[in-house]
Subunit: 250 residues, 2 copies
């Protein structure tokens, strides 16, 4: 097999692209088109290698990278599966808040509202929308053992989340990203967060039962789907009296 499945050299520069990366792109397209459903198994390495007419080693490498990007999950002896946000434990991939003592789980949600409105300029910019395009705004509070800890102010492009209502949100069990995935076909692949310290305003102080101007962690998260397309802007305010945001550097 020569290294020209696709011809990457366009206009300037040779821009050599290894076979396994070309395969990776093709696989990613199939994932985006939902040729295999989230949580389901993809064909075996051998079969995919035959399908793409490459060696098993090359196919393996493409799959390895997709697994490293959290798009696929390998399970020895069982197969390779499409990642899903439906599983409980996965939600802490994006929520990095840990209690000072005890385990991470066990957050309860309280929905405040879910409204349609026009995107403010800053939200539109972040989501690559035109100013005043329609968006859905969801607000909620997360509590840990009866104590409110997180206030989330979430902005979603209406075009992608038609039919999202407060009832549907309230009825859903499990992570919100699971709902987005199963009901709207929107899958969060990665996200960027900007973290600051701010003082609580009156509204947030009340929701989190804190005093006015208490220090809060402000976590602005922009979540992206395939092709690095931004599909959610989430402004979180975390009370860090008995929780902390955990990060690992290496």
């Amino acid at each position: 097999m020569t290294s020209t499945l696709a011809a990457p050299e366009a206009a300037h520069g040779p821009a050599f692209s290894p076979l396994y990366q070309q395969i990776k792109v093709l696989m990613m397209q199939r994932l985006q088109l939902a040729e295999w459903r989230p949580g389901g198994a993809i064909p075996s390495e051998i079969e995919l290698a035959a399908r793409f007419k490459v060696s098993q080693g090359t196919m393996r490498r493409a799959i390895d990278e997709l697994a490293a990007d959290n798009l696929l999950v390998r399970r020895q002896g069982k197969g390779t599966f499409v990642s899903t946000h439906a599983e409980e434990h996965v939600q802490f991939r994006f929520l990095r808040l840990m209690p000072d003592t005890g385990e991470a789980g066990g957050m309860t949600r309280r929905l405040i509202d879910c409204k349609r409105q026009r995107a403010p300029a800053d939200v539109a910019r972040a989501l690559h929308l035109r100013a005043s395009d329609p968006v859905i705004r969801v607000r909620r509070v997360l509590s840990f053992r009866e104590t409110p800890v997180v206030f989330d102010d979430i902005w979603l492009p209406s075009a992608l989340f038609k039919g999202l209502t407060v009832e549907r949100l309230a009825a859903h069990r499990g992570p919100m990203y699971g709902l987005f995935e199963s009901e709207f076909g929107v899958r969060m692949i990665r996200a960027e967060e900007k973290i600051r310290a701010v003082a609580a305003d009156a509204a947030i102080a009340e929701l989190l039962t804190l005093r006015m101007s208490a220090p809060l962690l402000s976590v602005e998260r922009l979540s992206m789907t395939f092709g690095n397309k931004p599909v959610e802007l989430r402004r979180g305010f975390y009370s860090t009296a008995s929780h902390y945001y955990r990060n690992e550097l290496s």
Copy 2:
């Protein structure tokens, strides 16, 4: 080559360990013993493969993982090198603070003091020392374009940093971790951070020219060297008026 360079099955369980992982452990030992110096090249894949009596593919895999862990750096056509903190750009691997506008670089340091004292209980616990073991405490301020942004309160085990003085710190150019590496042979491999929002106390407010109780990001970093041994506790206080802590989720 059979898969028994070392016998991993001790007491309980088979605990199969692939060859490339055994090689990785051996390489890590050599790195820790500074058989190759930081910034310097290690032998080529071919030579190392011969030395360890494995195939080039297996050797390659071991090196790949060490590179993924940031212990080695591969440079095509040139060789593989031991990672170093001496280079300017590397310092932003651990300092994740970004200005709202403009580039990341260009922080200036002001040393406040560097004192020997006995470890308080919490510091001793974090650094795996006995209470009241001797430690060195360094305090400093980082500024960005004349504006103070970060106050660092750094605790180091005296046993590892004998001879660290305010003069030596002041004389050194480049990242502090570069000094630790070249002068004391202490190399930071990874770190864990706990991030909170706090209110500035009087002392910190003055150092960062903020008003009392201004919200600050509290970043408690525990840095580890080989074998996950903690060797630095750093309490940072970041003013996030025109900077933010950047994080990437995937």
